[in-house]
Every structure is written in structure tokens, then in C-alpha cells.
Symmetry: C2
Subunit: 868 residues, 2 copies
């Protein structure tokens, strides 16, 4: 039989895939002789088997009993014993950490008899019934599915009756009564009594943990974090230790370095006389870890030693959980700590300086995607700010949006109304994940730096202010109050996640500045990466930003955006509405100098670097108005009969514009357009060359499906260039975008007429999948929420489908022309797994928006390291 259960002393940290992260690290800490309460782990393979078969593996009961017995022997207590009962915690733990996603049960093993045994052992009646009521609540909620609110209500009723405010003000008798009313809640909700048999409790709890692997929150989390390929969750059954046994007991969480800044300081929080859930849930506001030194200096010293031991051993910043039971320290968890992008960078650089890790290791530890945080605008320090409140700076960055009060509203405003929102909650819970995802930032009125909101927001790279006690949230009336000030739903606020400031209204932002450590990471990346990184830039400003971020050229300059400028759209429309070619040429003549000027500006910024310019791509109707009043206006402006104008608009209308008369198709039927554009490029090149600027234009034909389109398109471009004779003293390359399946499949033919290829993976994905991004909203959300797709195909290269075509294209293209330059433009090329794929299939460069250039540089270096 497969081994489905491991005692902690049987495992180690390499066994994450079967023990889960938590289990493997508990085993590792056990090996390191750290004070870990004994226990065992039921493997992810057991979960997989359970989910597949719908029942536990054969011999489960016997195995479970055997491992329980081992724990009992170690502690000299017995599970379910009336005199000296062993209590256990049951915790989930997958191979990848998913905070708050999976379920936990503490104090398992209690019933009306064992609680008396516990009392005998501890002599602390309040503690015993506190533990008991917590257990019934937790088990009732997590295992039996009774809403937490039902228990909360009973608690509130009792507190009201007793006239007290805090849980801790309730005495043993109160809690005893609470156990009974909690059990009644369970009976009322489920129609069955609370299970008294500890072994039945344990089995139900394990089942519940296994089942929770596929609950919606877990699936959403995995989807949002691209967690795929896991077997399931492991279950850790561990002897309980209690942080709530009185004044010398406590519990806390800590990071071996500051997870927000990366600073090398012992950072965390603790609560005396509390169980772990109190800290994590953010219901009581905890104390700073440094204060523990004042409260229990011996324990603090021991904990600090554990910190050093763990960092040296794991060679990474750790996130630990501990409990102090009557003055004795127990370690309940260690794992690599989640950290902000800034902390990632600083910790990686510091650890290289400390000699703890190598430069390559440091680079591989960077989550390139998260570097986004360091690259996005922050609040302008010089701006006037109406700071109305201050909370904990739980996740850095700045965010501005309209206030909403529920996760559903956040999602609705964002996706249906296209509004940026700030989610304001008293506290967040796993049910709020989708709303947090939809928000620019999160603001909570309670909870600490390690509360649910804070942890999840940091994970998402979103700005978050937690524990902002200044504000009160009136969910019912959808109002946020700060003293007499009322902020209504839909009002703008701005959050500064780095300072904790809540600001009324919209505040201007400034560009981020790269820190020295971040520059160091980028420099290392350049030393290692093989892929070049270019920028997608339609304006001199974009080009400038991209170059400052290290872009090695422009991979995509879209000329159509230039057409939409207010002073040009008129000429463009005149061109479209001209019946004769002469009329069209005349209109284009007026656009030429403007377009030339665009290119001059871009060439100047990119002096010495290649600039890929894509000729006009969208269908002409995109430049004409569709609404009645706009059409009227245009007709007047053009001195055209409205009916005639409508007829033209009608004629240009397309049923599937994505698959219509656009790109090189337009270039062939209306050659005057590309002719004007090529003239503008060449004239711009000639003009700036005179100033000593080195120009390297790469003219790109879009939307090519067959060889002859390219042959003719190329010939037409060369015809224009020839007109300028020797004045063209720079190399001008001609190539094509590869954005149709057929272009990939016939790349050997196309390569013969192209100096370069550039993958347009947006369109390539849409055609390969038959999925228009404009229309997929209606089913894609359903697909993602129900796991039909693990992620939106437009978010990263779909390696099984689109990637196969790309690989075919590269192979065919290179077979026909060995040294053809091949790159990718489009945001997929800035997504790290896609960058790695591009590296693997042998592309020459990726190209992406300016702020993603540094991310791609890191991802490219990581790709090179991983595929050495």
C-alpha cells in the first residue's frame, strides 16, 4: 500500500508535493529540533485518492489510529480520554501556500466528558470552556457548514445580556452556556446533534479539509494565482498547544525580515492569552513583536534564536507562527514569507551581500510579475491631499477609485461599468476575494498587518490600508464615516498603501523611481538574459519611458493611434469618404507631415535602436462615427448629404470586423494609405539622419495570411523607398506581423519575403481559439469561475495551442531563412511564463508596454537561468 500518512519526524522539507508546504516544514522544523508539538501529516495523495474515489483509502482507520497513538505516547495523554485527553488541531496545507483559503479546526477532541478531563489537567475552567465553545463554533462552521454569523449572534446576545463588550469579559459559566447554545445552533441548522465522538470528529474534519480543496474560494485563489497541477491538500493533525491558557500564554505570527520593506528586522505581532485565529482574523488588534521582549524576555530570546536558525537553514525570509503555552514556546509553522515587491528586491540583494544566496538564486526568487508594484505611479508628494484618516500601511503603492462596500459591488462597478473602485470593508474574508481582485485598493477599519485583507492584498500586489480605526463603515446605508464626514458609495478616495493615508478625492500620481537594489536586479538580468526586450511605443513619450527602463528598441509602433488625434481624424475621414483615388490622396497628403513628425520624434528617442512600425491595421469604419448625432455633425462638416454619408458608413459596416477588410488587405486595395505612411517613415528618417541620429526603421505589414499579400506589400514599400534614391542612407527592413494561424503554417513561404517576423499574439490567440476579446466577457467569466479554463487565454501564451503554432512558425521560418529576426509584441510577451516560452522557442526579442520592460528583463534572465 502507498504510504498515505507521515509522522512529522518521518518527513522533510523536500516533500512538499506530498506533505504540503505546512507539513513539510513542520517535519523540517522537527528535524531541526525546534519545539514543534508532535503530529502527523495525511498526504496530498490521500486527498487526491479521496476526491477521486469519494472515500478514504483502505485501512485508513487503522493507520490513523496508529499515528495518533504515537502522538499519545509522546505526550502521555490519550485522544478522547475522559481524564487526560489529547486535543489536536487539523489544518490543511497544500504544496503551495494559500493563505486563508483552506480550513482549520482547533481544539478537536473535546466533548462534554473530555472537557472535564481537560479541566482536571489545567484547573482552568474558563480556558476549558473557551476552548470548547471555540471548537463547536469552528467545527460547526467549517465541517458542518453552519454560518459563522449564527454563532456570532449568540455571542452578541450573551454579551448584551451580560452588559460586556469583549469576549474576555465573559466568565466560565457564560462560556459553558455558550457551548450549549452553540450546539443548539448546530442542531437547528443541520437537524442533527453535534458529534461527540472525537474519532468521528477527526474523520469529519479531515474530510472537510479534503473537500475544501474544491470549494469556490480555493478554486478562485488558484485561478487568480495561476496555481495548477497540484494533487490536493495535505492534512496536518497536531497536538494542540494553547495560547489562551492565561497571562503567560500567547500566540503570534512573525516574519524574519520586514515583509513590506525587506528591512532586516524581526517583524510581527502577538496577542497574549489568545488562540492563533484571533491574530489572523484581525478581530483584536495585536501588539508589535518587539514588545514581547518586554513581556517575556526569555521567550523572545528563544524565538529570536529560532528566527536565526530558520533563516540560515532556509536561506530565505520566513513567515512563522508560534504559540506560548504557560511560558513555553512552540513553533506551529514556518514558510517562505510573502513579501511586497520592494521587500523581494531588497531581501534578495541583501542576502546576496550577506553571502546567504548567489546572484542567480536571488534573481530566480524575484516574482517578476509583482515588480509591477515598483513601476506604477505613486501619489504625487507635492499634491494637495485632504487626508481624512490613517490606517496601517498593509500593502504599499497608491490607488484611487470610487468607494464601494461589497465585493459584488466592486466586481459589478469594475467589470460592468468599467469604473475603478476602492473596496471598503470592516474586515475582509475569503468570500471577498473576487471583489478585492476587482478593486484598485482595499481599505479595512479593523485587522492588523497580518489580517486577511493585508495578506491577500500583498499577494495580489494591490494597495491596502488595514485597521483604519478612524473610519466607520455603514454597510447598510453604504456610507463611510470619519467623524461628521460622510463618504458615499461612488465618491472618489485615494489610498496611500505605503503610509496608510486615506485621502478624499482623486490625487495626482507621479512616476516611480527605480531604487538602487532594483537597478542591481535589472543589471544582473541584462548580464544573464539572451532575449532582447523592446518596448511597444506609439509616441515619443512612450519611447522615452521604455528606453529609460532599458528597452532595446521599439517592437511595435501602432500608427493607427496617431490617426485618432483630433486634428487628424478629419483628414482621415475625408480620405475614407473620397470616392476617387485622387481625393483620397489629397486627404492623405495633409496627414503625411503630421505622421512624419510623429516618426521623427520616435526616431530621435530611439537613436541607434531599431523601431518596428506597423502600417495601418484597423478597418476604415473604425474611423467613422456610429451614433446618429455624430453622423449628423460629420455630414455638416464634410458638406455631405446625411443619407449619402449613412450609406457609406453602412457599406463599410462589417459583421466580423476582426476578420474583415483590415491590415494588409486594406493596404492592397487602398495602396495610397501605406504609400503615405512609408513616405512619412522615410522622410522622417532622412530628416533626423541629418542631425546625426541613427535610424533603424523596420516597416511591418500587418495581418498577412498568404505569401502573395506579403510579396506585393513588400514590393509596394520598396517602390516608395526607391523614389528617395540615395537620400535613404539608413537600412530599412521590411517584415510582417504573424497574427494568423495560416501565417504560422506557411512561415517558410513568408520568410522568403520578410526581414523579420513579429508575433501579434492578441489576434493569433483570438483566431486560434475563435474567441473575440470584445465578446468573450459573456462566457469567459463563467469559464474561469467554473474551471473550464484555468486562465484567460489572452493573459499568457496558451502553449498547447497558440504556442504550438508559434513554434511551428519559428521552425519553418528559420528553415527558410536561418537568421530571420523573430520577436513578439503584445502584452502576453510581458508575462513571465510567456517570456520563458519565447526564450525556449528561440525568439530574438519580446516587446511590451513601457512599464513592463523591467519585468520582462527579469523574466528573460530567469528564463535563461531555468533553461541553461
Amino acid at each position: 500500500m502507498a504510504k498515505y500518512i507521515y509522522a512529522f519526524h518521518e518527513g522533510n522539507r523536500e516533500m512538499k508535493s506530498i506533505l504540503g508546504g505546512k507539513g513539510a516544514n513542520l517535519a523540517e522544523m522537527t528535524l531541526l529540533d525546534l519545539p514543534v508539538p508532535p503530529g502527523f501529516t495525511i498526504t496530498t495523495e490521500a486527498c487526491e485518492q479521496y476526491l477521486k474515489d469519494g472515500s478514504f483509502f483502505g485501512g485508513f482507520d487503522e493507520e490513523l489510529a496508529r499515528y495518533l497513538e504515537e502522538v499519545e505516547e509522546k505526550l502521555g495523554s490519550k485522544f478522547g480520554d475522559d481524564n487526560n485527553p489529547l486535543l489536536v488541531s487539523v489544518r490543511s496545507g497544500a504544496a503551495v501556500s494559500m493563505p486563508g483559503m483552506m480550513d482549520t479546526i482547533l481544539n478537536l477532541g473535546l466533548n462534554d466528558k473530555t472537557v472535564l478531563g481537560l479541566l482536571k489537567k489545567t484547573g482552568n475552567e474558563r480556558f476549558c470552556y473557551d476552548a470548547y465553545r471555540r471548537f463547536v463554533n469552528m467545527f460547526g462552521n467549517v465541517v458542518l457548514g453552519v454560518a459563522h454569523d449564527n454563532f456570532e449572534e449568540e455571542m452578541d446576545k450573551l454579551k448584551e445580556k451580560k452588559g460586556v463588550k469583549l469576549d474576555t469579559d465573559l466568565d466560565a459559566e457564560d462560556l459553558k452556556a455558550l457551548v450549549e447554545s452553540f450546539k443548539k445552533v448546530v442542531m437547528d441548522s443541520t437537524g442533527a446533534g453535534f458529534p461527540d465522538d472525537p474519532r468521528e470528529q477527526l474523520k469529519l474534519a479531515i474530510k472537510a479539509v479534503f473537500d475544501s480543496w474544491n470549494n469556490d474560494r480555493a478554486k478562485t485563489y488558484r485561478r487568480l494565482n495561476d496555481i495548477v497541477g497540484l494533487k490536493g491538500t495535505a492534512v496536518n493533525v497536531q497536538a494542540m498547544v494553547f495560547g489562551n491558557m492565561g497571562g503567560t500564554s500567547g500566540t503570534g505570527v512573525a516574519f524574519t525580515r520586514n515583509p513590506s520593506t525587506g528591512e532586516k528586522e524581526f517583524y510581527g505581532e502577538f496577542l497574549m492569552n489568545a488562540q492563533g485565529e484571533d491574530v489572523v482574523a484581525g478581530i483584536r488588534t495585536p501588539q508589535k513583536l518587539s514588545q514581547l521582549n518586554d513581556v517575556m524576555p526569555e521567550v523572545y530570546k528563544e524565538l529570536d534564536a529560532v528566527r536565526e536558525k530558520l533563516e540560515a537553514h532556509y536561506r530565505d525570509m520566513q513567515d512563522i507562527e508560534f504559540t506560548i503555552q504557560e511560558g513555553k514556546l512552540f513553533m506551529l509553522q514556518t514558510r517562505s514569507g510573502k513579501r511586497t515587491a520592494k521587500a523581494q528586491v531588497n531581501i534578495a540583494c541583501d542576502m546576496v551581500d550577506e553571502g546567504l544566496i548567489t546572484r542567480d538564486e536571488a534573481l530566480l526568487r524575484i516574482d517578476a510579475n509583482r515588480m509591477n508594484q515598483l513601476l506604477h505611479p505613486d501619489i504625487d508628494p507635492d499634491a494637495e491631499k485632504n487626508v481624512i484618516a490613517k490606517g496601517l500601511p498593509a500593502s504599499p503603492g497608491a490607488a484611487c477609485g470610487r468607494v464601494v462596500f461589497t465585493a459584488d459591488d466592486a466586481s459589478d462597478w469594475k467589470f460592468n461599468r468599467d469604473e475603478k473602485v476602492i473596496l471598503v470593508r470592516k474586515e475582509t474574508s475569503p468570500e471577498d476575494i473576487h471583489g478585492m481582485h476587482a478593486s484598485q485598493g482595499i481599505l479595512t477599519s479593523t485587522g492588523g498587518m497580518t489580517s486577511h485583507a493585508a495578506v491577500v492584498a500583498r499577494g495580489m500586489g494591490k494597495c491596502c490600508i488595514a485597521g483604519c480605526n478612524d473610519i466607520s463603515v455603514d454597510l447598510k446605508n453604504k456610507v463611510l464615516r470619519v467623524g461628521p464626514l460622510e463618504v458615499q458609495e461612488g465618491d472618489y478616495i485615494t489610498l496611500n498603501g505605503s503610509t496608510g493615508e486615506v485621502i478624499l478625492g482623486e490625487v495626482p500620481m507621479v512616476d516611480p523611481e527605480l531604487t538602487d537594489n532594483f537597478k542591481k536586479i535589472l543589471d544582473w538580468s541584462n548580464e544573464i538574459k539572451r532575449l532582447k526586450v523592446r518596448v511597444n511605443a506609439d509616441t515619443p513619450l512612450d519611447a522615452k519611458v521604455g528606453r529609460e527602463f532599458g528597452a532595446e528598441g521599439i517592437g511595435l509602433c501602432r500608427t493607427e493611434h496617431m490617426f485618432f488625434d483630433e486634428d487628424r481624424i478629419k483628414a482621415v475621414r475625408k480620405m475614407i469618404l473620397s470616392i476617387s483615388e485622387e481625393g483620397r490622396r489629397g486627404a492623405l497628403e495633409t496627414i503625411l507631415p503630421m505622421q512624419q513628425k510623429d516618426f521623427e520624434g520616435i526616431f530621435r528617442e530611439m537613436d541607434g535602436l531599431p523601431v518596428t512600425i506597423r502600417l495601418l491595421d484597423p478597418p476604415l469604419h473604425e474611423f467613422l462615427p456610429q451614433k446618429e448625432d455624430q453622423i449628423l455633425e460629420l455630414a455638416e462638416e464634410m458638406g455631405m448629404e446625411i443619407d449619402k454619408l449613412k450609406r457609406v458608413i453602412d457599406q463599410l459596416h462589417e459583421i466580423n470586423p476582426m476578420l474583415g477588410h483590415r491590415g494588409s488587405r486594406l493596404g492592397l486595395t487602398n495602396p495610397e494609405i501605406y504609400e503615405m505612411q512609408v513616405k512619412a517613415i522615410i522622410q522622417a528618417g532622412i530628416a533626423v539622419s541629418k542631425d546625426g541620429i541613427k535610424v533603424l526603421p523596420e516597416i511591418e505589414l500587418p495581418f498577412i495570411a498568404c505569401e502573395d499579400e506579403l510579396v506585393r506589400g513588400r514590393a509596394a514599400i520598396l517602390d516608395v523607398i526607391k523614389q528617395y534614391g540615395d537620400a535613404v542612407n539608413f537600412e530599412c527592413r521590411i517584415g510582417t506581423m504573424i497574427e494568423l494561424p495560416r501565417a504560422c503554417l506557411t512561415a517558410d513561404e513568408l520568410a522568403q519575403h520578410a526581414d523579420f517576423f513579429s508575433f501579434g499574439t492578441n489576434d493569433l490567440t483570438q483566431t486560434t481559439w475563435g474567441m473575440s476579446r470584445d465578446d468573450s466577457g459573456k462566457f469567459l467569466n463563467y469559464y474561469l469561475e467554473n474551471g473550464v479554463l484555468e486562465r484567460d487565454p489572452s493573459s499568457a501564451i496558451d502553449q498547447k495551442g497558440v504556442g504550438k503554432l508559434m513554434d511551428t512558425c519559428v521552425q519553418l521560418g528559420r528553415k527558410a531563412k536561418k537568421d530571420i529576426e523573430i520577436g513578439i509584441c503584445g502584452e502576453q510577451g510581458g508575462e513571465p511564463s510567456s517570456v520563458e516560452f519565447c526564450h525556449k522557442i528561440g525568439l530574438d526579442y519580446v516587446s511590451l508596454s513601457p512599464y513592463r520592460v523591467p519585468i520582462a528583463r527579469i523574466a528573460a534572465a530567469q528564463a535563461a537561468l531555468k533553461n541553461k
Copy 2:
């Protein structure tokens, strides 16, 4: 140096690719000792070289002189000689016959001096100047580009002046004057004198023939006939013989069998005292060939012997041209004769019976596509017919449409107004090709069975009535007159191409009946083919017709067409507009019995054969009205506020519906629809099974892009089927349409969850090419006319692109599931080259519309023969 010129006696019929069809056959006839005037052929390779370099090959003049000399020696005359001049014809001839497409010049070598030499030789002044004026006209038109009308005008002026009606009424002096006025026409038009030097004439003529390879008519012809991969045209220079030297001279064309019916009779026409152009152009109405036996029995006997010799030698029906010069027969051309579909079938069967060819040869000679002609409805013999005129039955079949008088109008009415048209002309010319292509049928008032209109119409498989002298065509007023009756542009007429009857108005049609010979061909096909042939049928009637034509199952039954029925669309709309799932289910309940009844009818027709039923494919908005008044009506009908209805319609609107919320995407988000459809299928199956009908449903999920869609879709179908338990006593297979590139690329994954694949090449072509058939009109015509594409990618499988994906799909699919059934539905599967491709990549069946089933059977057999 490459050999660029071949004397006739140096070649043979195998050398078509370099000598062209005409040249190779002149060589072959020379080898057979038939009376062929001596000459030589300049090869297609010389044409290719000329078109590439823009000038003749090096040493051209010398070579030309050498071969001319050989001819001079044979005939004892000299090219350009003032006393005994050799005259030559210059004719084009590509490897594939293109009637009327390329240019011909006769009587070349004449000038003011050599015409006197000719006179000396013949003593016939009228003949000499007739030849001369014809030469100047033809050379002026074809080589120098002077419009034919200009010459015609001079001729008409002269005839008017002389008060005569026929050309033959003009005497020698008249013709002499005509030569001068023709030369003036040339001078006026071109600004240069008519070239007098015979060698210059010859070189200019050869150039003109070479250049004509790329004229628009030639390109159009090649495109319409899918003629690709040729080098160019050859040029045949041949000693002139004259059919216009008086009463014992003549010229004619003939077929060794009747090209219209296939009957074994010597069939053709001749004109005494005429040159070949008079017959082909249809200006004078010629005599039947049998009458030659009366006029010149010796010559007729000789010609009949030639006919027998040629048929026995070529083992195929021949199309021959001959000239009789002063009682002596000369052969000017032989080639495989074009024939109607009916004649193809009959000749093939007869020749097998005669032992001339084998069954396999006979099958391979059938142009499967052309069999269309035999399968389309004919005029109902019982219908009332108002026959207003009768002409020559030049190309069989029936056609009905609105009268138009120019090729441009035909094209405009057809493609811009979507009207069926009949093109009515005095006579047609190569300039009319596009109009003929656009028409249902062609009617001409002059010309014979071998006139331009007749030959081209037969080639196109279109109905044609030629030489209908009863009618007069008033082009200026766009009126067709038959006595006092006037038929205006836009009025309906009906043509019966098999009888020559012109009928006023629209006449009902009846289904064709398969002849015994055609059935024989189809039976042979079934013995040979490996591919199965299924029918695309949405109704019991389609199923019945398909089965009668030999369909071996239904390959595609589209369920959405059933939704559009007037009594169902209401329920469909109610379903779409229901907000709740219950509301939708209620509406679907009312559709279920109707849909069940459809399936029952189809299952009954297909008793014992598989029926592939595709679940709903189009997006829901297709079922809602788009126009204001229709929306108003629907709102009233549904008791719904108009604004609310508009909002729903707006919400359902898609930017690219082809790539939107359709197919299995809809099936997943709105599971109640497929559930109803599967219920209808299963209930129908159960119902008809009770009557002893054997049902074999294959339920098909459309528009699958990824594995999980298929997994879920299949599971949902199985869930429904399970509800019926043991009542389902038939096999019900579940599979998917393959219509997206990604489905092809991941076919190994999909095959694991599919009992069958069926290629939907319409959508697969559109996505692979990024080309929407609804929108491609705007550029596709340009592409075809300018040779960017050789044919519309939707007309036949694009083997380089789409075909590669199909091949990948078959290989991956079969690797994962060896015996997975793979077919193709969609009209491409009925196009012979596509059928062959499907055979080669190993598909199990093709499926197509009922009337194409026989075509596909033949094409499948041909594929098997060609790929033995």
C-alpha cells in the same frame, strides 16, 4: 542553349507542357501523317523567359529564320517574297486549352507588295484583298490594340455606301479600298503607320501572343477554371491555308462525337469560302457538317477517315479544326473535345463498351464538378410555358432569371442586388466572361453551336441558347424584341438549354433523373472509393434526396434551422428573453416536441444509417430581430416594454459574432438548451425504434476550443441519456466538430472524449485565414481579379494552411484513439480536389448537400484511383 523552337515534326503529344496543347497536337497529327500545313512552335518556356526578361531569348532572330526557312523549303514559297509569298498564321496555345482567351493572327506576311505576289499565285484579286483587309483588321486589333469597332465602322460605312448587306457582296476594289481605310484607322489610333516588314509583323505578333498570357481575360479564365502552375503560352507559326479561296474552299470545326449528348455521330459545322474566324466568331451562321457530304463528298470521306484515326489514336472524343483549300483538306487542330456533363458520362460509358478505354480510365475522365449539370432541376415538362422564341440548344440545363443586356449589368445585378440574371447579347466576346459567370444562363441572337457563347457556356456548365434569330436585341434601350413583344431589362425569362426554348416569365422546375449511364458511373465509383459519402440534411426531405443519391448517412444535421420556423421562433425568443432558468426551460418545453418530430422524420429516412446531429451553434442574438419595427412588434407580442427588449438585444449584441458566445460555449452557460435538444433526439430515437427503425444518432458538440468544454459537454449529454435508462436500446455516439485551429492542435486531448470528429471547414477556414465570409467581399474580388489569391479559400480546402491543420488533427486524434471516426461536413468536402485531399489524409467520410452527393462519390473514386 535551351531549345526554344520545335518544328511540328520534332514534337509529339506528350510535350504539351512546353509546346502547348495546340502545338503538341499539331506535332502528333504530323507524326500520324495527317495533312497538316507545315510550321513550328515557339515553346512555353520561351514565353516564360520573355515575360521574365521582357525580351526574346538570345539568338531568337536566327532561330526564327532557320525554322521559317524549313517551312519555305517545304512549300517552295518565301516569307516576304514579292512573287511567291509565304503567309503564316500565328496562334497561341497553352498547355491547357483556353478557348477564345488567347489571340490569333491570320494571313501574316501581307503588305502592299506581297499581296501582289499572292495575286500572281492565285489570280484571285477579291480573295487577296479580302485576306489583306482581314489581316490588317486582326493585326491592328490584336497586336496594335486598335478597337475592333473602329474597323467594323469602316466596313459598315462601305457597305452602306455600296448598298449591300453581306461582306461577300463587296468586290475586290471595295476590299482594296478597305485595306487603305483600315490602315488609316491604325494610323489615327496609334499615331504610327502599319508595319510593312513581314519579319517585323511576325515578331510583333509573337510578342502580342506572349503578352496576352497576362491579359485580364486570360487571367479571369484561368482563375474561373482553376488553371494554375503553367509557364505561359506557346506560339504556333504555321503556313496559311485558305478556306476563302472560292467555292471549293471552306473551313469548319467538328467533334468526333456529339459534345452535347455524347452520341457517336460526326458533329460540326462548316462555312464555304470563309476563314476560321467566321465560324468561331458566330458572325455568319454555318452549315451542319453532314451537309459537307453533299457539297464535297470526297473531302467529307477523307475527313471522316481522319476522325476515326484520331479517335482510335487519342482514345478520346476530339475537337478538330479543318480548312479546305481548293478541294484539298488540311487539319489545323485537334484536341480533346470539351463536352457537357451528359456527354462526358455517355462518351465515357460508350468507350468502355467499345473497348477503347478501361473502366478506371473512364472514371478518371469524368469532371466530377461538372456533374452538377446532371443533378440540377430542369424545367417541369408539365408546366405551362409561354415559348416566345427558339434558338440553338448550345448548352443544356435550364435557367431562369431577370433579363440584363451587358456583362457589367449582369455582374451588378447578381453580386450587388443578389438577383438571378439571364445575359442576353447579340453575340458574346471574351470581354463578357465576367457577365457570363454572373448569369444563370446566356441567350444570343446570332452564332452557332461552336460560337463563343456556346463554347464558354458549356465550359462553365451554364445553360445557353445561341443563334436565336427570332429575337432582336436593342442594347441601347435595353429591350429584347420578339415581333411586337417587348421584354424589358429586369423582366423574367426562362431558358431551356436542352431544347433551345426561350420562355417568358418564371417556369417551375423539376428534379433531375439519373440516366443509366450516370448510374453506371456512380456504381463504378462505389466499387472503387474508400471514403464514405454522407449528406448534410436538416430536413427529412434533404435526407431522402441525399439517400436517393447514395448518401451513406447524415454527416451534418443543423438543428438551428429548425429554430427559425415561424411557429418555433416565438418560443425560441421567449426562451432567450426569459430572465430565469425556469422561464427558459418552460419555453424550451414547447419546442421539444417539434424538434423531436424533426428528428423522427430524419431517423425514419436514414433507417440503418448514422445521423450526426449538431447541437445549437449560432449565438442567441441571431434569433432576435434587429430592425425597429420588428422589435416593436416583438415587444407587443411578448408583452414586454420596448426599452427593456432593446436593452436585452443590446446586451446580446456582439462585435464579432463569429468568435463570440456560440456553440458549446452557449451549451455550457445555458445548459437547458442542449438538454432539451438531447431529450428530443433520444425521445425521437426511442419512438421510431418501436417501429423497427434502426437509429444511429451521433450527437455533435460544436465550436470546441479546449478539452474541458468537451468533457463537460459530453458529461451533460450522458446525464440526459441516462435519464431514459434501458429505453435507449440504440447506440448513441458523442463527438465534436473540429472547426477551430486550437481544436486541431489539441486533437489528442479531444480524441479522448469523442467518439468522432467532423471537420467544419467553413469556420476552420475563416479562423485560420482570419477572414469572415460575410465581410470578405470587399477585398476578395480584388484578390481574385489581381491574382493575390488563385481561388477563394472557402471554395476548396486550402491544403497549405487549413489542410495542414486537418492533417495534424487526424494524426494527433488517431494517435490518441486509433479508430476514432473522422469526417468532414461543409461544402468544401464536395469539391473534387478537396475530396482527394480528404482521401489522402485518411478521413472516413465527406458530407455535403444532397445534390453534391453523386459528385463526391465520383471524386472519392477518382481519389482512390489516383492514390492507389
